[in-house]
């Protein structure tokens, strides 16, 4: 059965800390992996990863994919209270247009 597992389930840090969120997957015919940030409402898109070893960056956030070991990490440096959210990882099975989601990591950043 296809599955996506995120760890940790929750995390509390102080402003300025660096955090690493993990996503491992077992999906038949992998095509892409997405990271989303979800605050009060709709998840918002962060990154799409399709190739191993190529880092995607957006400001203080970065992500990388390892297709051999079947995982991805999302790094957030110099965290701010506005980074507090649930971070979702989702993996697409090729040809289906469907994404399988992990349970998410709830991040809380304290001032």
């Amino acid at each position: 059965e296809d599955k996506v597992v995120q760890s940790p389930l929750s995390l509390v840090v102080h402003e300025g800390d660096t955090v690493t969120l993990n996503c491992s997957y077992e999906v038949t015919n992998f095509r892409s992996l997405l990271w989303y940030k979800q605050e009060k409402k709709a998840p918002t898109f962060l990154f799409m990863l399709t190739s191993s070893g190529i880092e995607k960056k957006s400001g203080r956030l970065s992500s990388i994919l390892d297709k051999k070991e079947l995982f991805s990490i999302l790094n957030i440096t110099a965290t701010q209270t506005g980074d507090s959210a649930v971070y979702l990882c989702a993996v697409e099975e090729s040809g289906t247009y469907k994404y399988i989601f992990g349970t998410g990591t709830r991040l809380k950043v304290l001032a």
Binding site: L9, Y36, P43, T50, Y97, F101, G104
Partner: protein
């Protein structure tokens, strides 16, 4: 700005009622999806549609049905609401392209069944 609009942010319904959750997108996307999101369980796929009048069951279709009469609108129907259907419901849409560009989500409907 492209949008996926869900008609209600919060709904409270009684057990046994028939409930309609509406989702409209203005991006001409072919694919539309309904998920429910529960603590500790993440997002689980209920139903999806790749085209008008077409529907496919997701992982947890029991107790639900869907309707897609027009490309932009995808409705989720709870035939007889039960308390275990209390949840956050998220609608999403996407394009059918070679890369698979991911979803655009609606803001969600938090449904409480009492």
């Amino acid at each position: 700005d492209v949008k996926v609009t869900q008609s209600s942010r919060y709904l409270v319904k009684r057990t046994g009622e028939k409930v309609f959750l509406e989702c409209v997108q203005d991006m001409d996307h072919e694919n539309m999806f309904w998920y429910r999101q529960d603590p500790g369980l993440g997002l689980r796929l209920i139903y999806f549609s790749y085209d008008v009048k077409m529907k496919e069951k997701g992982d947890i279709p029991e107790g639900y049905s869907v309707s897609r009469e027009k490309k932009e609108r995808f409705s989720l129907i709870l035939e007889s609401a039960s308390t275990n259907q209390t949840s956050m419901y998220l609608c999403a849409s996407s394009l059918s392209d070679r890369l698979g560009w991911g979803y655009t989500f609606g803001s969600g409907t938090r449904l409480t069944v009492v």
